[in-house]
């Protein structure tokens, strides 16, 4: 294994030199930033439009059959009471009046009628905005603060739940262990291809024969896996750091919930379990991808295998509600302990808090043993499939050799 560091260094540096790595690495944060940017711009423009509306002064006449509009507010909005509906509409038609609002007696069934001078498709909406704002302000001015809060549907609720006599908030408890689930999903989604091509590249370049007489297959594969883990950490940081920075910088503008980190519950056991499950799952997945890459002549021919593996690993996401509501069901137990489906159920159930201790230990053991076995198989496939430049290696050929 004396060449391990050399292999790792070479693999890491050459990957970091690839444009594709950085495009992939920054692709997600850039895409998210772009979406958030649009949300921020939208929020800003809405706020700006509201401010502009406040500043706008145009001639208004109002007929209020609902008797809800306050005259002092109408004056503040720059409006007056209309003598008659038809006269006001005629004034709008002739251009001597900008807008006329009619509030019917029954606002539940009826609707506010707005007659106004055309100012373009985008600006015509301002009349309805003013009409509604005048009505809301009038209603709110006649009720107390509590009623106003209820009317705005902005009442807050506080729920305190207990488990084993101790205050326990399942939603808050799952945040930190749940981060590993999100990270696992993102890394596999963005890094799977990199794992696959790390072994097919040598075959496609025909460099493998020279390599195998210079470095042991095991050293090469382990070096590649370690370097992939380091690169995945780089990728993870590229996702996490902008996400955290963005949260604190743009929390208010994006109307994101205010997360009080100081009150976030920290369950060291569950977080440690999540970390171990994450690492073992990542190793297993890396081993599988490396093995597939070693067995096929080119990355293109791996798509069939990749599809099956992805289905096994991410398929359990479709049964999320089952993992939460029926953790004791045989199907959930099977999916939790079957190595190829285990990562998502284990990470999810650990985050939710319904993964029992024996399941945690057994699941971790199964994942680690499976990862080691898969890696040994990957080395074997790489070793014996090395010179199969044009065809896939059969299972009989892989395991049939002494």
């Amino acid at each position: 294994m004396h060449n391990l560091r050399t292999v790792m260094r070479f693999e890491i540096i050459r990957t970091l030199k690839k444009k594709a790595f950085w495009i992939m690495a920054f692709g997600f944060p850039v895409m998210i930033s772009f979406i958030f940017g649009i949300v921020i711009m939208s929020n800003v423009s809405t706020e700006q439009a509201a401010k502009d509306l406040e500043k706008q002064k145009f001639s208004i006449q109002v007929t209020d059959d609902s008797h809800l509009i306050k005259s002092e507010l109408l004056t503040a909005f720059g409006g007056t009471s209309a003598t008659s509906k038809s006269a006001a509409i005629d004034a709008v038609k002739s251009g001597s009046l900008d807008a006329y609002f009619y509030y019917p007696a029954n606002l539940t069934d009826g609707q506010i009628e707005v007659y106004a001078k055309d100012v373009g498709i985008f600006d015509n909406g301002r009349y309805t905005g003013v009409a509604k704002a005048l009505l809301s302000a009038s209603v709110e001015s006649s009720v107390d603060a509590n009623t106003k809060t209820i009317v705005r549907d902005s009442t807050k609720g506080k729920v305190i739940t207990y488990r084993n006599g101790v205050e326990f908030d399942p939603a808050q408890q799952m945040i930190l262990p749940g981060l590993f689930l999100v990270l696992f999903y993102l890394l596999i989604a963005f890094f799977g291809n990199q794992m696959l091509t790390s072994t097919t590249e040598e075959k496609e370049n025909r460099v493998i024969e020279m390599l195998l007489t210079t470095v042991e297959a095991r050293t090469l594969i382990i070096g590649k896996i370690y370097s992939l883990i380091i690169l995945a950490m780089v990728q993870g940081m590229i996702i996490i750091v902008p996400a955290i920075t963005g949260y604190f910088l743009f929390r208010d503008r994006l109307n994101l919930p205010d997360l009080d980190l100081s009150s976030l519950p920290v369950d060291p056991l569950r977080i440690a379990a999540a970390a171990v499950i994450f690492i073992a799952s990542f190793l297993l997945f890396t081993g599988i991808m490396v093995a597939i890459g070693a067995a096929v002549p080119t990355a293109k021919e791996a798509s069939g295998f990749i599809g099956i593996i992805m289905m096994l690993i991410f398929g359990p996401l479709y049964a999320v509600s089952l993992f939460i509501s029926a953790p004791d069901s045989p199907l959930v137990r099977f999916l939790t302990l079957f190595p190829f489906t285990a990562p998502i159920p284990m990470l999810l159930r650990n985050a939710v808090g319904n993964l029992e201790l024996w399941e945690t230990l057994a699941g971790i053991l199964i994942l680690i043993v499976s990862a080691i076995v898969i890696m040994l198989i990957a080395v074997r496939i790489f070793r014996y499939g090395a010179l199969e430049y044009t065809r896939k290696l059969s299972l009989r050929e892989i395991f049939g050799r002494s």
């Binding site: 070479f10 024969e209 195998l212 007489t213 210079t214 042991e216 002494s402």
Partner: protein
């Protein structure tokens, strides 16, 4: 390690000499012979599926000699080398380098130029050469120094930082040869080293091989170029259908074939095959 091996060998001799004096003498001869041989292949057979590619092949390569492994396409030359280097697992027989099956870092400094040419195409020339140099046990500085010296020698000094896929096929082949000779190997195995080279570069390559011969390296060449064989090789083996048809020094082989040139010997050995095929037809 050397002391331990010497003591071990001495003990074995003593046991055998005491038990069977006649056998002991044979054992000493065999051991001395194997100490002289850097490559020893005995009763090697290789089967792919139902096809028997090599049949009971035995030969050895002496330390410091240049050995030619000859034969037409499909005669089993590359298979023999791949089995010798542990890339293929032999169906039967014993293939040893320096007295033991080849393993990476197993003691012998090996330089292998495979038949399948290829490099990391997206990497620069110098990065690739330094990587392989380090894998062969050189320090980063040593690998860099030796790589640059080789590039100067083959007139590619200005291409050190060029990406490999920007080089011509011949230039890439030179780089691959450079990687093969990095670390001053004591055993060079070259599978059709001059394939695709023009006469000028072929001459350059032959000079490089001769340099390594002079430094005491053992060279095993797989080639179809009889001119190269006559110029460089001390001994040869000629394979046909996985069997040795001729084996010995060039003079011995020529004597066996009534003084014919190597070209004529090659044609006569493989001509028989054509005649046999014609007879069967």
């Amino acid at each position: 390690m050397v002391i331990f091996t010497t003591l071990h060998v001495a003990c074995e001799y003593r046991k055998i000499l005491v038990a069977r004096p006649g056998w002991g003498l044979l054992f000493i001869c065999a051991t001395l012979n194997s100490m002289k041989s850097i490559i020893s292949i005995k009763n090697f057979a290789m089967t792919f599926g139902k096809t028997e590619v090599i049949k009971d092949l035995s030969f050895d390569v002496q330390r410091g000699e240049t050995f030619g492994l000859l034969g037409s396409n499909g005669s089993g030359k590359t298979t023999t080398i791949r089995a010798l280097l542990g890339i293929y697992i032999p169906t039967a027989g014993e293939l040893l380098i320096d007295g033991k099956p080849y393993s990476v870092g197993g003691g012998v400094k090996l330089g292998y130029l495979p038949e399948e040419r290829g490099l990391y195409k997206k990497e620069s020339v110098i990065d690739t050469m330094v990587y392989f140099g380090q894998l062969k046990g050189l320090s980063r500085d040593e690998a860099r120094q030796q790589s640059l010296a080789f590039l100067e020698r083959v007139k590619l000094g200005d291409k050190a930082k060029t990406r490999l896929d920007k080089l011509s096929g011949g230039q890439q082949q030179k780089i691959q040869l450079g990687i093969t000779v990095l670390g001053d190997p004591e055993l060079l195995i070259l599978d059709e080293p001059t394939k695709g080279f023009d006469p000028v570069n072929r001459r350059l390559l032959m000079d490089i091989i001769e340099d390594h011969q002079k430094r005491g390296a053992t060279v095993v060449m797989i080639t179809h170029q009889m001119e190269e064989v006559e110029q460089l090789c001390d001994r040869i083996i000629l394979l046909k259908d996985g069997k040795a048809r001729a084996y010995g020094t060039i003079a011995e082989v020529r004597k066996k074939f009534a003084g014919k040139s190597l070209d004529d010997i090659f044609v006569s050995v493989y001509g028989d095959e054509n005649n046999e095929e014609a007879d069967h037809a």
